[in-house]
């Protein structure tokens, strides 16, 4: 009987992921991969709900969601000796949460994607989102998404707030309501919103860029004066998984050079394997290279976890209505 590995993933570009990961891995391991897809919050909720009787082996999560999962005791510590490709990764990717709970398989910048034909003065700052010409034309990530809290954090910073005083950020975001069409729950929704002309500009993670370009609309990736924030996606092993051996093989596989190269070339995920080489024009569409990665202002998962619940409350009350 064939073995089955259940992987919880994002679902974005699933067809490309199937091409680059699912099918090659299935061929190699003579097993079957079953995907459970959804946004981070959804999937974390499911992991938590099934804590005592997990039905997922490997989960791919945003870094602070993985941290949340680790805090709730949902994760197994990784035996890194079973990951032969680990040493090819940039150092920050090897143990991003500490305690060997996770391995990062991609990292990405968060910035603003915008329509160059509609917005003639390029967007260069978070503050540009408040331009009157954008009335009813922007989408923000919902607070429960992975990008939600980092965007709040970045905006707060841009308007002079600090980690202990987030009032400037929330006040400004509340004032942004008139410009917001909707708050998105999936980065993937953005492609639709751009394609249907509902939205001209939106903060988004770099991983969705390929998807956005596919709409065929003239789009640019804003170079923000405040700099870009960086977030990693990590792979974790779910506690109680009954397919640990396969799970390690899978994690090792997705950080391998060949997979990381394939994913990068399809603009699915920016690579964290230092041996990956891509052409210059691909590189321009990705968060690529140690230099660029180093320039990102990393958002501290621990901080976000600490403030998230309060932010969700506040967001619901002051922003999302």
């Amino acid at each position: 009987q064939q073995r089955t590995l259940t992987v919880s993933g994002f679902g974005l570009n699933q067809n490309l992921i199937d091409k680059n990961i699912t099918r090659p891995f299935e061929a190699r391991c003579n097993c079957k991969i079953v995907w459970e897809v959804g946004n981070n919050a959804d999937r974390l909720a499911k992991l938590a709900a099934r804590k005592d009787n997990p039905n997922v082996d490997v989960a791919l999560l945003g870094d602070y969601f993985a941290q949340l999962a680790a805090n709730q005791g949902l994760l197994e510590r990784l035996d890194t000796s079973k990951l032969s490709n680990l040493n090819e990764l940039y150092d920050f990717a090897k143990n991003p949460l500490g305690g060997n709970f996770a391995v990062a398989f991609t990292t990405y910048a968060i910035s603003i994607a915008y329509r160059t034909d509609k917005i003639t003065t390029p967007i260069t700052s978070w503050r540009d989102l408040w331009r009157p010409e954008l009335k009813g034309r922007i989408a923000l990530p919902n607070i429960t998404t992975t990008q939600g809290p980092p965007v709040v954090w970045l905006v707060n910073r841009a308007f002079g707030g600090t980690d202990t005083n987030v009032n400037p950020g929330f006040e400004r975001l509340s004032a942004l309501k008139a410009n917001v069409v909707t708050y998105y729950n999936q980065s993937a929704q953005l492609a639709g919103l751009f394609a249907q002309e509902e939205v001209w500009a939106a903060p988004v993670g770099r991983f969705a860029w390929g998807n956005l370009l596919a709409t065929g609309k003239p789009l640019a990736w804003a170079r923000l004066s405040e700099g870009q924030a960086g977030v990693s996606n990590v792979a974790v092993l779910v506690k109680g998984s009954r397919n640990q051996e396969l799970a390690y093989q899978f994690i090792d596989f997705i950080i391998s050079r060949e997979v990381q190269t394939a994913q990068a070339n399809d603009l699915v995920d920016s690579p964290v394997n230092r041996n990956v080489r891509v052409s210059a024009d691909k590189a321009a569409q990705l968060t690529y290279g140690l230099q660029q990665i180093a320039s990102l202002r990393t958002v501290d998962p621990d901080y976000i976890i600490k403030v998230r619940d309060a932010w969700i409350q506040r967001w619901n009350r002051e922003v999302a209505r």
Partner: protein, 259 residues
């Protein structure tokens, strides 16, 4: 005898509102563009081809099909005896029984899905597939009871008495006389139940897991991830499927009586 045109105009508007959007989707489904826009700038069949290749759709279509068939069967197996007992015996507390059996219709379906997930799947530690089957069966049971009851009400009791006077016992009477005469109602109930299950979202929403998902849920997911006309093509297929069903069932069974 000049009659006011107002009612006809309202009917026309109502129908336009109900069915008009389908036309837009039909046309979008044949788009040759990469993303959804209306009207499309060119036409092709590519999105229909795509529907057939998306694995999630294939798998969930099969799941939905099985789920629909099994839950319909279960609902009928339990519902027909209920309809018969309520129609033919003076059961004490018949009203209470009716309320209990129609409660799945009254309760918000999301609540049902949640309750099953929480207590049946998570706490009771049963598989999601079974939970899904139970949720759907419970939801279809009222339809089965109602539609079969309606057709039993049209079946004169006399013919059962006649069968018994001719020497048939109760079982023989049921299988030789009652069942053949309510098969229209049973067929209508099956169709209605199957369609209801096949289109169900709220109950299924909570009762999906890795590898277990229904077509509507996959469509929802897909729509969150992709904004191309694939869903338009799939919707078109589903609408055509519905038209076929409506034509067939309205002609054969007059299903509008039971909706």
């Amino acid at each position: 005898m000049r009659e006011s045109r107002f009612p006809i105009v309202m009917l026309g508007l109502a129908l336009l509102f109900l069915v008009g959007p389908f036309v837009v989707v039909f046309i979008s489904a044949f788009s040759g563009d990469r993303t959804l826009a209306f009207p499309p700038s060119s036409f092709s069949l590519q999105w229909f081809a795509k529907v057939l290749t998306v694995e999630a759709f294939q798998a969930s279509f099969v799941t939905s099909l099985w789920l629909g068939v099994l839950s319909t069967l279960l609902a009928l197996l339990m519902g027909i005896p209920v309809a018969y007992a309520l129609a033919r015996y003076q059961v004490p507390g018949a009203e209470v029984i009716r309320v209990i059996l129609t409660s799945p219709l009254i309760l918000p379906a999301l609540m049902v899905g949640l309750a099953l997930l929480r207590y049946f799947v998570l706490i009771g530690n049963n598989s999601i597939s079974i939970g899904l089957l139970i949720g759907h069966t419970a939801l279809l049971l009222p339809y089965a009871v109602r539609v079969v009851s309606a057709s039993l009400a049209n079946l004169p009791r006399d013919i059962e008495d006649a069968a018994m006077s001719l020497g048939a016992n109760r079982l023989q009477t049921f299988f030789r006389v009652v069942l053949p005469n309510i098969r229209g109602g049973v067929a209508a109930a099956s169709v209605l139940a199957f369609i209801t299950s096949f289109n169900q979202v709220p109950v299924s929403l909570f009762l999906t897991g890795p590898g277990v998902s229904t077509l509507p849920i996959q469509m929802l997911l897909y729509m969150e991830y992709t904004y191309d006309p694939t869903i338009a093509a799939l919707s078109t297929l589903l609408i055509l499927f519905s038209i076929l069903f409506v034509l067939l069932t309205e002609r054969l069974l007059g299903i509008s009586k039971y909706v």
